[in-house]
Symmetry: C2
Subunit: 130 residues, 2 copies
DNA sequence: CTGAATCCTTGGCGATACTG
DNA sequence: CAGTATCGCCAAGGATTCAG
């Protein structure tokens, strides 16, 4: 079962430790940031999100959305139609988080070449030294 | 063996995909950010880092430092003394990364109470609804 | 002091199948 | 369409031990 999300998260001693870790551990998984960024442009429904991200499984997308909703970053609106229609939107909290994230994202875009360069250089040295 | 850091990272198709993922996947592990933040104040040696972070194993600290060094965020200076003395320092690249990170860190500090509030409210609702 | 080697457990995640 | 249930892999990470 996915739903319950064990009261306060399993093994993560939220609260007893640094706020930064508390927040980052929850959005630092494989898909959370991708979902947040995908929702930057506005409301999307489940399948649209899945298509936007591309290589995410239904299971993980659903689980990630639950987690983001639980933490108050994303709101979920259900239209009782058939077929069902569920829309996901950034909350105000989610939008401010994304704002705080932007500098990091643009840093990554501007500097990933340097990082990749450093990586290859390191590997080359390691290869020579044995 | 830890060293080789399998040329280009195992399973992470670095390069073929989004630069943001490429960078974030590498510093998004359990300890990288903590190490970077710890080095903000200046050079530290291995044991000092371990003490500063507190709950990190020797194994993971060493591994994290290798990864950060490889990506060019941290430089490693070895003093050939006995006992050995190894100092870790942020590179220019590492400092700019940390700079881009600061907004996120302060966001976490300012908003983690709201996140925790949302979490508990969500859990309460979930408990009622069964 | 600064690691590396080894062993082992955990849980994150994917694949698949099923449901309202 | 929007999920949930179940199974299984395997990489992340902790504990411990060994080494220069």
């Amino acid at each position: 079962m996915i739903r319950p999300l064990p009261p306060v998260a399993p093994g993560s001693d939220c609260g007893s430790r640094c706020p930064v870790r508390d927040v980052l551990d929850c959005i630092g998984d494989k898909w959370s940031l991708l979902v947040l960024v995908s929702l930057e442009g506005g409301t999307l429904r489940f399948t649209e999100l899945k298509r936007t991200i591309g290589d995410v499984s239904q299971r993980m997308l659903a689980q990630t959305l639950r987690s983001l909703e639980r933490d108050g970053y994303v709101s979920r609106r259900i239209h009782a139609t058939v077929p069902p229609r569920v829309e996901y939107t950034l909350t105000e909290l989610g939008r401010t988080l994304l704002e705080g994230l932007l500098p990091l994202l643009s840093w990554a875009n501007e500097n990933h070449e340097r990082v990749r360069g450093a990586r290859h250089e390191y590997d080359k040295r390691a290869a020579v030294e044995g």
